[in-house]
């Protein structure tokens, strides 16, 4: 069997499989219950175009190994990018010291294998595309933004691709390898009119091959959309301030689900009882129209993976079922403490990070309403169109930042407006989701989620939705 990951493992780590067993034994030598090695090798490439020139290209190699030992509810962790036997042994002993006893346990033999499915079958992986061809893609996005309108005065376009090889082995016999590709092409355009200046952003990608930019999202579209957003904002007025009905656009508004629901169902916040949801399992927390999933198994999506960073095969997880809280995002440790089944949501930024429960691709299931019907139902309100991101506290208070939107007057979108923050308490807002559209759409495949200082690629999705009333924080 051809297993590129195994080859990479052998080429870069030079560790015979039987040594993996020995390192795990060392990691458990102080009495830990569970030990794990996470070996990572990654290659990242970037191209930047700015001021009409290809300004810089870069390449980055990451190689390292993290060792985790769990003893009771405690975690010991060490990592190193010196992969000599001596350094790995030392790292294993560091992680081992979370326990303070003795144990002589030899874990089962380990022969890392790829997971049972591959969600990322690529026609043109990054390694098969020449730098010259990649540069052409960047130039196309750049040129289409620049030529879109004479008011576009600055453009920046960049292309990044990444391939990450991981090998995860643990003292319970898990031994898995995985290969995770990632590509992202983004464009930023600045438009000027007199002394007014605005910037627009657009981009796409995912765990896809370069064929994506021929068929799914053309670089020209990325450039044009970025320029269009900047021009749109030039004509926008300051957003209103106060409580009013809010209609959330399909796709981009998925960030609301990510912040208001997803984070607070990450099982570490539940077991610590800091999440407002900790005692609400099985209870009604949202209106009947709301059904929410987190699905790491959507092929080619940014947030997807064949196996999580603890070696567990991920499950599409139902979080909210017609308004009722019905599932959590679990990692190994939280599932163990809560005595629940892991869902394969243990993720880590890289070998230097401890895995924690994270979202992957989070979305709200479509409803029955037509988008126009939803907008028509609002006499006076706010339509949130594009977003910059959001933040949530464990108490359920969340915000998200709208970069552009419209006023709704007498059932129609009227004045374009910019820069507003929406704020609310999650359970209150979830209960005031009054209409859910039939147009489930996913947000741009460019999203990054931050938690505990770790970044993870994610995506989210939602149909057009109406919230009865929400605080809109504009400047007017």
């Amino acid at each position: 069997m051809i297993n590129s990951c195994a080859l990479v493992f052998k080429d870069h780590f030079h560790i015979p499989p039987e040594d993996l067993q020995t390192f795990l034994k060392t990691a458990l030598s102080r009495g830990g219950d569970f030990a794990e090695l996470f070996l990572e090798y990654r290659i990242f490439n970037a191209i930047l175009m700015e001021d009409d020139i290809i300004k810089e290209t870069s390449e980055s190699v990451g190689l390292g190994l993290g060792i985790r030992v769990i003893s009771g509810d405690k975690t010991g962790y060490g990592y190193t990018n010196d992969i000599s036997s001596q350094a790995i042994r030392k790292t294993a002993l560091t992680a081992a010291s979370i326990a303070d006893g003795n144990r002589d346990y030899t874990p089962p033999p380990l022969y890392p294998k790829p997971p049972s499915r591959n969600l990322f079958i690529l026609k043109k992986p990054a390694s098969a595309v020449s730098l010259a061809d990649k540069i052409e893609l960047v130039k196309s996005a750049y040129a289409s933004a620049q030529q879109h309108d004479s008011k576009i005065t600055k453009v920046r376009a960049s292309l990044t691709d990444l391939i990450q090889y991981v090998t995860i082995v643990n003292s319970e016999g898990t031994a898995v390898t995985d290969v995770r590709p990632m590509v992202k092409l983004v464009c930023l355009a600045v438009a000027e009119k007199g002394s007014e200046r605005e910037a627009g952003f657009y981009g796409g990608g995912g765990r896809v091959g370069y064929e994506y930019f021929q068929h799914d999202l053309k670089p020209e579209t990325i450039g044009r959309e970025a320029a269009g957003e900047a021009l749109h904002l030039l004509d926008a007025e300051p957003a209103p301030a106060g409580e009013m009905p809010v209609v959330l656009s399909a796709g981009h508004s998925g960030v609301l689900i990510h912040e208001a629901v997803g984070h607070l169902l990450e099982a570490d916040f539940i077991r610590k009882k800091t999440s407002v949801f900790w005692d609400k399992m099985g209870k009604k927390v949202a209106s009947d129209r709301v059904t929410i999933y987190d699905d790491p198994t959507i092929p080619y999506f940014r947030g997807s993976y064949n196996v999580d960073d603890e070696g567990i095969e991920p499950q599409k997880t139902l979080l909210i079922d017609k308004g009722r809280l019905s599932g959590l995002l679990q990692d190994r440790l939280s599932a163990k403490i809560l005595n629940m089944t892991p869902t394969g949501h243990g993720r880590r930024q890289d070998y230097s990070s401890i895995p924690i429960p994270r979202m992957s691709n989070t979305y709200i299931e479509h409803g029955e309403y037509d988008r126009e019907e939803i907008i028509r139902s609002v006499k006076k309100g706010f339509y949130a169109h594009h977003f910059q991101g959001g933040q949530v506290e464990d108490t359920g208070k969340f915000t998200f930042s709208v970069s552009s939107g419209y006023l709704i007057e007498d059932g129609r979108l009227t004045t374009p407006v910019k820069q507003a923050t929406l704020i609310g308490s999650n359970i209150a807002i979830l209960n005031s989701i009054e209409m859910v559209g039939s147009d489930l759409t996913y947000s741009l495949q460019t999203g990054i989620c931050g938690k505990d200082g770790q970044e993870a690629p994610v995506s989210d999705g939602c149909p057009t939705m109406k919230i009865t009333s929400m605080t809109v924080g504009g400047a007017r």
Binding site: V61, Y77, Q391
Partner: protein, 448 residues
């Protein structure tokens, strides 16, 4: 110039990479090697949750071939890997474009002795891990002793020991070592079914400057308790009093608007305003790289340009954009020694202390909001627009009346700078970007 060599192996590696780059075809080369050690413990409810101890190394470089730039980095320091990366970079540079502004800084004779800045406290690094764990446990224990606290996010202590090496083809080779430690705590309190949360943390380079567990616990408890029983308020325009750590984010936003990289990209509303009056005359902002022991101090930046002290806004007048060599050349300016590995970063970027006691600022406020925490990302440097979720304390008749939550504040940095009402006298350098209490004349609060 080689008086500060702390680790010969890493210095040799950096110099080897420079010379290999030149040998392979580059005209200029710059190499950075970072060697860091970290210790981190998090505790919760009196028990250790996580203990992390590790060391890691990485090497990054930038090469120029005929004015074309290629860069790379690696955490694999195997010579075979590095050789391959350097060859790749030289090859890649051919496909880039000539950029007249690209290149390393001119060689300067002036240098800053790293020792003079006192960036390293061996006592902090060599502190017994047991003591580090005790500090975290003690901080949480004291806070949980207060009956009003109902849950803990946990306390944490972290410690970093970083050795940086920079070598370049213009003959520069220097090393310096930094220490850093941070103790923090997050809490929740509950009353009438309403949960509120906050916390406190403090980071320093020197152990004897770190706030004690008692101090951190006391601040975290007070900050949390004062938010109990919040109200929502009506949409209105009122004065906003920024507590010092809120002034920090405002200054951070100002930094992104005066960074030379934002200026040549036209990604800031201040792009055409150098030399103009942009703020109230009581508003003076510095970027000082050479303050001993301070968190943002550096002897030289990531290109080897010596750190220096700059006045960014002098009594309301915009004096400097902060630049690396590239941004400076694009703008026809001089590097200010703010290169930060491919971009521009602040050193100690701070608002000059005022003369008014924060308590007097509150007393002089008939109606307004003390901003204690902001959430969300609504900052747009291109326009200066600000819109963020806010938590704070409502002031009425010069006194704190009650906490408020679920509101947003909105304004525009350009207009806020002209609308400075008062500057407090409580600057404490607890962050590298910081300032004292600051009262702005008016911002929009969105509530009911």
């Amino acid at each position: 110039m080689n008086s500060n060599i702390l680790n010969r192996e890493l210095k040799d590696l950096a110099e080897w990479a420079v010379s290999y780059g030149l040998k392979t075809g580059a005209e200029e080369a710059e190499v950075t090697v970072i060697d860091s050690r970290e210790f981190e413990v998090s505790v919760r409810m009196g028990e250790i949750e996580q203990l992390v101890e590790a060391g890691s190394r990485s090497l990054g470089f930038r090469l120029l071939c005929e004015g074309k730039t290629a860069s790379a980095s690696s955490s694999d320091l195997d010579k075979k890997t590095l050789t391959h990366l350097i060859r790749n970079a030289v090859e890649r540079a051919q496909l880039g474009h000539y950029d007249e502004f690209a290149g390393l800084p001119e060689k300067t004779e002036f240098t800053v002795e790293p020792e003079s800045l006192q960036l390293y406290d061996p006592k902090f690094i060599s502190l017994d891990p047991k003591e580090k764990i005790r500090l975290a446990l003690e901080t949480e224990r004291i806070a949980l002793g207060d009956k009003r606290i109902t849950n803990s996010h946990g306390a944490g202590f972290e410690n970093r020991d970083i050795l940086g090496t920079l070598a370049s083809s213009n003959g520069f080779v220097q090393q310096y070592r930094e220490s850093y430690g941070h103790l923090s705590l997050g809490l929740q309190a509950e009353e009438a079914g309403q949960v509120v949360e906050d916390g406190w943390g403090h980071g320093t380079r020197f152990l004897n400057e770190l706030e004690s567990p008692e101090e951190i616990a006391r601040k975290a408890v007070n900050r949390t308790i004062r938010l109990l029983n919040p109200r929502k308020i009506k949409t209105q325009n009122v004065p906003i009093i920024f507590e010092p750590d809120m002034t920090s984010w405002l200054l951070g936003f100002l930094f992104s608007c005066v960074a030379g990289t934002s200026v040549f990209r036209k990604m800031t509303f201040l792009a055409d305003r150098l030399g103009d009056r942009i703020a109230d005359p009581r508003f003076t902002v510095y970027d000082h790289a050479l303050l001993p022991k301070k968190l943002g101090s550096i002897p030289f930046d990531s290109e080897g340009v010596p750190g220096r002290n700059k006045t960014v806004v002098d009594r309301g007048v915009l004096k400097h954009f902060l630049c690396d060599t590239y941004a400076a050349r694009k703008l026809g300016l001089e590097s200010t020694g703010n290169a930060d590995g491919g971009g521009v970063g602040p050193t100690n970027f701070f608002l000059e202390n005022g003369s008014i006691d924060p308590a007097d600022i509150i007393k002089a406020t008939k109606k307004g909001l003390i901003l204690t925490r902001a959430i969300g990302h609504g900052l747009n440097p291109v326009t200066g627009d600000i819109s963020r979720g806010a938590v704070g304390l409502w002031v009425e008749g010069g006194e704190i009346a009650y906490p408020v939550s679920e509101i947003t504040i909105a304004g525009n940095l350009g207009r806020m700078l002209e609308d400075i009402d008062s500057v407090g006298n409580d600057l404490d350098f607890s962050h590298s970007v910081c300032g004292p209490t600051l009262k702005i004349g008016e911002m929009t609060i969105a509530g009911e």
